[in-house]
Symmetry: D2
Subunit: 174 residues, 4 copies
């Protein structure tokens, strides 16, 4: 089973829409999946789910259980301030250390309004995941200028669809 | 005026203690300073101070005002999961874009229980700050194996004190 | 005096042409400059100018003297294999350590045929220069899709000209 | 077959000695291997094996053939100036693009005289290899303070031996 993660808690984000498209790809290939949407992060998690409270926040635990019960993750990551969203890292900071991601596998997709496509966000995340013992698929998809290339439902840039398709294909075998 | 930032919302952290030592250095040099302690981040800020709520959370605004009213920042940054704390980045994600940090200056200090001293955390932050138009002092101090080198009040490793002293000296002229 | 460095030893490169344009900007502002072109790296420098031979290769020393006699550098860096050219780093590996770049200042420009504009190349270089004690200007210019935006003599993308102009302006004051 | 790469052209390097130890590990596990030692890089390769000369330098081609005929690589990488050696990247710049490393696999070991253990060198290399389509094993071994931990023949720090052993074990299954 592959867990597809929407890497922001922003409401109605384009990131969440891309998660939907990715899940359609996996469905078409007959691969089991589940969605972990950071929009469900509880309001008080930066205090009540971290440090001494690790593992003690019931609502947070429902999300972290989706990490624990699966071995493969696709992270869809919007670019905020030149890197990944702080809430995504804070979510990771609330997970059990050090075994949560050890020997698991990740594929990364960046989403940006500008030209970078989340390139540095994905590089930083790769550092973090490797540190935690999780292997990262070499092919990273960078969806730059997303407003121009996404019509609210579909990616209108055919190259983007192909890159996601190729990544999903590679990740299933990874 | 230099703003010294304690880069975590963890209670009673070693990071906060290092902030105290840094401020002592600045005081001894007769430099004006203020402290921005992320422990005061409001519980609900990941939802009520970001995106459409940017600038609308009174308690959060008290912290962000400390960024707006100063041009030089020392970030004391603990290493969490091989990089900076998610809450630090989330705090940055809640600031006004794009002018908050533009043409300002930062010095970086990493704190870790392990051997890395926050090296990757500081590299990632440099990427982010440069993206936001803030210059970063070349000398970055990495306080590795902090438990062994900090007795709860003072840094017992004399090299660490010298590195902080030299950095503060350079940053005042930067 | 500002030293503008052409970061590749490839003959007749677009990078070298951008160096020419940058120098024109500096001239128009009345700033003294010199050019360091890696195309003049001697054929045998990876062996005869490194390690035990540091400082002993006359032809190499003519190039390294241009680093020693100046305090500000603009690096024009083509993207090779997702990062900076190996020869640029090898040139740096042949310089005296640790004082060559200490307390000096650099501005970075990336040049690529693809979409990245050398973003990771400039991030990696920033890590290296900060390690060596050299401050890096926050504003980094990324000239992506260079074939489409450069006609052999001039940058036809007006935004690119403005970004270089703004960077030069900032760097003079840095 | 696993190719173990000595990532510097420095004569009689500690890096080359670590390659020997790594090969002993592979032998003990009954895994086929070959060594690619950058000390054999021809003196003139930065000019006669790059750009228009790609593939045309016979001596260089003997080394690049060792890349082409294998799918798994262990890179032993000394830290020079806070990152990997320039000659290692220049060697990569001389290989055929874009298929040389595509869908292949790498494990990384850093070697340093200082405290970093090549951490940034391995992060930068991961960026480059991922860009080229090569998967990188999450577990990266960082051999810091090598002079203190290596007696000229063996690693005297038992933790270092265990880390190499665990990495080799993981890489064989990767």
């Amino acid at each position: 089973m592959i867990t597809v993660i929407s890497g922001t808690n922003r409401q109605d984000s384009k990131t969440r829409a891309i998660v939907g498209l990715y899940v359609d790809l996996l469905k078409a290939k007959g691969v089991a999946y589940q969605i972990l949407d950071l929009v469900y992060l509880p309001e008080d998690f930066t205090i009540k789910a971290l440090y001494d409270y690790t593992g003690k926040h019931e609502e947070f635990n429902k999300l972290s259980a989706l990490i624990r019960n699966s071995d493969k993750f696709v992270f869809i990551v919007p670019e905020y301030n030149g890197s990944f969203p702080g809430v995504l890292k804070t979510f990771i900071d609330g997970l059990d250390y050090p075994y949560t991601f050890k020997d698991k596998k990740a594929a990364l997709v960046g989403v940006s309004s500008g030209m970078q496509g989340g390139l540095l966000a994905l590089s930083h995340l790769t550092d973090i995941f490797n540190y935690l013992g999780m292997h990262v698929l070499a092919q990273k998809v960078k969806l730059a200028f997303i407003s121009k290339n996404f019509d609210g439902k579909l990616l209108t840039n055919q190259l983007y669809n192909e890159l996601l398709e190729q990544q999903a294909e590679s990740f299933i075998k990874f």
